[in-house]
Amino acid sequence: MKFAFYPGCVSRGGCPELYPSAKAVCQKLGLDLVELTGASCTGAGILQEKNLLLGDTLNARTFAMAEKLGLPIMTICSTCQGVMSQANKRLQDDAQYKAKINGFLAEEGLEYKGNVVIKHLLWIIVEDYGIERLKPLVVQPLTGMKIAPFYGCYIVRPSWALGFDENGGRQTSLERVIEALGAEAVDFSGKTRCCGFPILTINERNSVSMVAKHTIEAKDLGADVMVTPCPLCHLNLDGYQPKAAAMSHREIDLPILHLPQMIALALGVDHKTTGLSRHIVSLKRLVEKVGVRA
């Protein structure tokens, strides 16, 4: 299986542990990646609030690059996935709009015909690779570990832009990966709510309250760790957890794993590659629990 790899900005910026973890997991799974090095930022929904046409143009440029390669796009960030899926839907639904945008792309020799499929690594694993094929690759089962799946927003809403009608299994994809690795999924009400990251610079109190709400709920339901397919959720849930604990006047201590890190842990990828020591909330106790060293 071959994909046009779109790593996004944060996997090489604020969460530098995500990029090598994802690449290591793909190598273990035998997924062939061609990185879209010349692609730009998706706009993350921020650019779109000021100028939707501009945001869609930048994403159409990325889609055209993948289309030229004849490959589906693989993302490792829910926000990138959500923003790209929404842009792709607008472009695919409106030929006139697509033609207008292709007019902007012409100078660079690019044209988007409208045929690109964009998939998060999470969806690729459950839909294309297959859970049953993942199971035998597990060398370090996460047995006894209780993992809370935190989807966040962009990979679940709006559902009509994310193909949920055609792919109903996406709603439980994280739980199925957790269980395939030998761990137990902890169900909690906050799993598809907002982590608070988008308002961190605007209203830190509200943002950190969201971190507190979700991490405390999962912790109180017995979770040892939380896993997320979104690096922005990770930045907030991990980076601002000490503040959330101080605000709530209690200990939280819930490590937050990126999806590829969790898989890498079970597939026996070395911890230096996956950057497990790069987390604000330490993973030491957790890896001791499953019998491996950070």
């Binding site: 910026g13 609030e49 000021k50 501009l54 792309l105 009400s189 308002i199 509200n206 709400k213 000490p242």
Partner: protein
Amino acid sequence: MEAILKVKRFNPEAAKPEPYWQEYRVEVEPHFTVLDALIKIREEKDETLSLRCSCRSAICGSCAMRINGHATLACKTKLSEMARGRPAVTVEPAGNMPTIKDLVADMTPFWSKVMAVEPWLQPRGPEPQGEYLAPADAMQHLVGVMACIMCGACVSDCTVLEIDPNFLGPAALAKAYRFVGDPRDQADAERLQALSRYSGIWDCTRCNECVQACPKGIAPMDRIMALRDRAMDAGFRNNTGSRHTEAFEEIVEHSGRLDELRLAIKTFGMMNVPAMLGLAPVGLRALMRGKMPPIFHKPIPNAQAVQKLFKKVEEAQKGDRK
């Protein structure tokens, strides 16, 4: 066939008024909506079950409630679809509002926020002889938002209201857009200034819950984003929200990708000592763990192509406005 509904009940007159779940088994027809089943339960099983409904046609907005954890209109929701793959369909009152009894939410906070955005036309100048007229094409973009039936589904599922009841919320902000976008309304500056303050347009997390919940396709979040754009255009930029958006745009235009360090500095301002001190503990912790973005930011290859696209789109939009 039999359906199982788990309904969240609450009786304020009970000795200990606490919410609790009650399970009902009821014979239903394949075409039943969740509202049909609830009415049948009330009529045949339990006359103490309280709910609010009227038109049964997704027009009046009375029966918004949470079904399987998400807000929607009970009259617009097929029971069979909600029951698929589940042992029971859960039904709760709308969220982010107090409950009066069972499935009846107290809409007082909803209405007070709608009233706070002054949802009436505020024209200026001498009164015209007849009506205040507006060209049809200037009103087209408001058709969607005017279809709001004020059911409160968006407010029920708003992730910000869940932790901050002061937030104006999606319904009131969508209503504000309806007047800011109306060419006959002359109070845009005052409205946008007020909406740019705390608890207004910049407090939305863009989580899409309101877009997903709205039974009429209003997409309140998209209206909030349009209000942000209009507020920035009107010059209300002295807030971290608009500085963040503008800095983001500038950075992506410059290098094609995000530079998180520059974004933080540009959003708060290098000379903003309290903000910088506030960021210091988080930054230091990240630095100690090797979790910092690169100090020397590298643009994408061929960043000039992205810069050209920014210019092309801007020029095309200028042309469209003329």
